[in-house]
Each structure stands twice: as C-alpha cells, then as structure tokens.
C-alpha cells in the first residue's frame, strides 16, 4: 500500500536539545491519525517536518512518495492558528490564498466555504469572526488546491463545545469523502476519541505507543475509560 506520509527514524534537535528521537509514522488515505502528547512531546515539530517547514537532522520523510520540498503544495496545514487577515472578508482571504497557490476557481472557493459552513458569512470581515469561525476559515484555506494530506496542530484551541463538535464532523467528512489523510495533534484526548482512526502517543520526542481506535475500545467500555486507558499508556512509558 502506498502511504501518503512516511516518517522513518527521524531525529531532530534544537540547540543540542533533542526534540524528536527516532520517530516513525505512516499515514494512509482517508485515515485520521491522532498524535497525543503533552507540551514538549514533539508533536508540532513532527508536523513542521512533514510539511518541510524545517528539516530533520537524520532519517527520512516522504510526503506523497517524495521529499516534502517537492510535494508540500499538496499538504494543507493549520499550525499554531489560522493565518488570516482581519481587514479582509472571509471570501477575500480565501481568494488571496487561492490566488497565491494558483487555485482561484470561484466555484471551488464557494464549495470550500460551504464545507466549513462560512458561506453566509463570506462578506464579513474576519476581525469580527469568533475563534471557531477563524479556525474553520483556516481549514478552508488549508484545503485550497489538490490536497491529499491535512495537518492540524491543536485545532480545537479556543473553541467552545459547539465549535469542537462542528470541527470534528468536518474533519471526519474530509477524510471519508475526499479520502484525505489527516494528522491531528492535541493534548486533549477526549476530542481525538471522536474523530481518529488511530493514535500515536508521544512523550519527550519519542513514540511510546501506537494503536487503533478499535484496540482502545477492546480495553474500554466508554469514552471516559478510553481516555483513561490512553493516559495510562502515555504515563506508563517512563
């Protein structure tokens, strides 16, 4: 099977401090992979390496079978918040990035705004948007182009319960309908349980455990037990 993302034995350090240590990861089409870990686990660094924003010290990363430098155009990302211009409307923000990435077909822009539920607010300036609306616009921007991989770093930050629920539905729809491979990072496990097919637990730059959603529920009866199980697997890896 061809994987959308392959990370093999990757190591990364910043100023002699190890951030990632011998990390391996594979992502298939239509799969939602949750990266779980606390602050400093290396989740964001791993996402940045996959997009080619920064380079690993050793190991290999393949994005769509090639180096991220060549294929990053097909990877949408939402890392550390949406990059939107407050003085422009939602539609103009999408049109700006669409022009930048070479995808400014009006029908597609309309489709994307409909997918994220912002078509009715398209002429509203983004400075008047709620955090959740900005996050959804950020996802619409991330989906511009022929996206095969979507990388979402802590996308639930700042969202209320309704916003989280909407975003979870959206992510699942993107993976199921468009067969986009999604990597989503969060330190809030309960959010990931509703949307992920597989989980990769990270601690201090190392992958400590990996299992599918089904495997979690072999050891847990409900969401609370599933969360406790994952926490135990994360905390027990000292």
């Amino acid at each position: 099977m061809d994987f959308l993302v392959e990370v093999k034995n990757v190591t990364k350090a910043y100023k002699n401090v190890s951030v990632l240590n011998d990390v391996n990861l594979k992502l298939s089409a239509g799969e939602v992979l949750g990266l779980v870990g606390g602050n400093g686990a290396g989740k964001t660094t791993l996402i940045r390496l996959i997009t080619g924003m920064t380079k690993q010290d050793s190991g290999e990363i393949k994005l769509l079978g090639d180096s991220p430098a060549n294929t990053a155009i097909h990877a949408g990302s939402l890392i550390e918040g949406p990059c939107v211009y407050g003085y422009m409307t939602a539609y103009d923000n999408l049109r700006y990035y669409g022009s930048l990435f070479g995808y400014c077909d009006k029908d597609r822009l309309k489709e994307l705004l409909n997918i994220v539920g912002l078509w009715e607010e398209r002429n509203k300036k983004v400075r008047h948007f709620s955090t959740g609306m900005k996050q959804r616009l950020g996802i619409a921007i991330a989906l511009l182009g022929e996206i095969r991989v979507l990388l979402l770093d802590e996308p639930y930050n700042g969202l209320d319960a309704d916003g989280v629920s909407e975003l979870e539905g959206l992510i699942r729809e993107i993976a199921d309908k468009e067969k986009v491979g999604v990597i989503i990072t969060s330190h809030i496990i309960s959010e990931l349980l509703k949307v992920c097919d597989r989980y990769m637990l990270m601690k201090a730059g190392t992958v400590v455990s990996e299992f599918t959603h089904e495997e979690v529920y072999e050891h847990a009866g409900d969401a609370a037990e599933a969360e406790a199980y994952i926490i135990s697997r994360l905390g027990g890896a000292d």
């Binding site: 924003m53 990053a72 890392i79 918040g81 990059c83 939107v84 003085y87 700006y96 990035y97 022009s99």
Partner: protein
C-alpha cells in the same frame, strides 16, 4: 511569482493601513500648503527674510505656481518617509505575527518567493503613498496659486517626480529588509524611524560641520537626498546622483536583506 503578484494585489487593494496612509498623506500635503499660503499672507517680507537667515530670495515666495508648491511640499518629506516606514513595517510585522510566512513556506514556497513578494508590495505601497502626497501637494498648490506654467516646468516636475519616486521605492526596500529580518515588530519600527530621523540629522550635522555651506554627505544619504533634490531644475549630474542613491540603497538593502533572510530559520 505571477501568483504572488496577483495575490498581493488583492491584499493591497483591501489594506486599510495603505488607504489610511494615503488619506493622511494627502491631507498633510494639503494642510502644509494651506499653512504656507496663510503664512505668506500674514508674514511680512522682513520677517520671511529674517527667518530665511541670509540672502533669502523673496521672489521665490512671490512668484509661486502649483508645480513650485508641489516641489516645495515634496522637499519637506520626512513625514512621508516616516509614514511609509510605519505602514510597510507594520504590514510585515503583522504577517509575521500571524504566521503567514510559515504557512506559505509549508506549501513549498521558498524564502526567495516570500521576500521578492514583500519587495513588490513595498514598491506598490511606497509609490501609492508618494503619489497621494504628491497629488495633495499639487492639487492644493493649484488651488492656492496656479501661476504661469511652462512646458519646461512640467518636464522638470515629471523628471523630479520620477527620480524622487525611485528614492522612495528604495527607502521602502530598506524598511522591508529590516522589517522581515528583525524578530520584534516594535523594534523594526523603531529602527526604521531612527534611520529616517536620527541618521538624517547626524548626516546634516556632520555635513555642516565639515563643509559648512556645501551639501556633500546629504547628497549621498538617501533620506537627505530626497529633500535636497526635490525641485524642478535638476541638472544631469543631480539626476545621476539621485539615481545612484536609489540603486545603491535600494538594491543594496534588497540584496542584503534577502541574504540574511535566506539564512535565518523560518519563524
């Protein structure tokens, strides 16, 4: 790059900072001429001559036309330099803070593309704001004076307009090079303001100390050259000096800024 230019045009057309900058500069130029007109009506020739210090050419104040007024306004342009510095720097600082460059880089675009795009945006912003200031100066000058205008004056004004425009575009490249490479937006604004105000003052002090009545260093410091050469009868030598300033400072800043940016870690 075509994609970047198209996208930048969308952004700049919507930019409230650029629009406000243009309105403010149009108003400042018009207000400047209003005050000047009022002062000429109120003040006597003796006072103007005393204010001038020595050998003040009173005819210069009695025989003004709209192009003279435009040129006079354009010679008092430190405020224009400051507004351009602030608008360009704030524009880049906001984009850095919002993670726009990291996001664009994550889509596979190089730092060269990003930097070249910023230079393009700075060119447009600097020129548009300069145009607004000039329009304010000339239109208000026409309202208050008009006067007799010859074809030679129009040609002189066009030459001056184009050469000084190049100086402002070069200034924009300096501001861009600093804004994109300095981590803190506040620090970048401060550095750009210091360059415009403090350095120019120092150059003037050194120039006057060493060469008294001659203008030597001020011809070769970009922000002083703007003020020195904004008049209608520029000689070929003076045009050359202005163009040399634009090339040295503009291309120098663009090159140096790009080199530093290419080597630094993406924020």
């Amino acid at each position: 790059m075509k994609n970047f230019i198209r996208a930048s045009n969308i952004k700049l057309l919507k930019s409230s900072a650029v629009r406000i900058g243009c309105v403010v500069l149009f108003a400042i130029a018009s207000l400047g001429n209003l005050i000047f007109y009022g002062a000429l009506k109120i003040l006597t020739g003796d006072i103007i001559e005393k204010a001038g210090g020595y050998d003040t050419d009173m005819d210069a104040f009695r025989d003004i036309n709209m192009l003279d007024a435009g040129a006079i306004a354009l010679s008092l342009m430190q405020v224009l330099s400051l507004v351009i510095a602030i608008v360009v720097t704030v524009h880049i600082a906001n984009e850095k803070r919002n993670g726009v460059y990291s996001f664009i880089s994550a889509r596979g675009y190089s730092r060269f593309h990003i930097y070249a795009d910023k230079l393009y945006e700075s060119t447009i912003m600097s020129f548009v704001m300069y145009l607004s200031y000039t329009a304010g100066a000339v239109l208000s000058g026409a309202f208050f004076w008009h006067g007799d205008i010859t074809g030679e004056m129009i040609l002189g004004f066009i030459i001056m307009f184009i050469t000084v425009a190049l100086l402002y575009i070069a200034a924009g490249y300096i501001f861009t090079a600093i804004a994109i490479n300095i981590k803190s937006g506040g620090a970048a604004i401060a550095i750009n303001i210091v360059i415009v105000v403090i350095f120019s003052a120092l150059v003037t002090i050194v120039d006057k100390s060493l060469w008294e009545d001659k203008i030597v260093l001020r011809s070769w410091w970009l922000f002083s050259a703007i003020e020195q050469y904004a008049y209608l009868e520029m000689t070929i030598k003076e045009i050359f000096i202005v163009l040399a300033n634009a090339v040295i400072y503009g291309l120098g800043a663009a090159f140096a800024g790009g080199k530093i940016y290419a080597k630094s870690e993406m924020k």
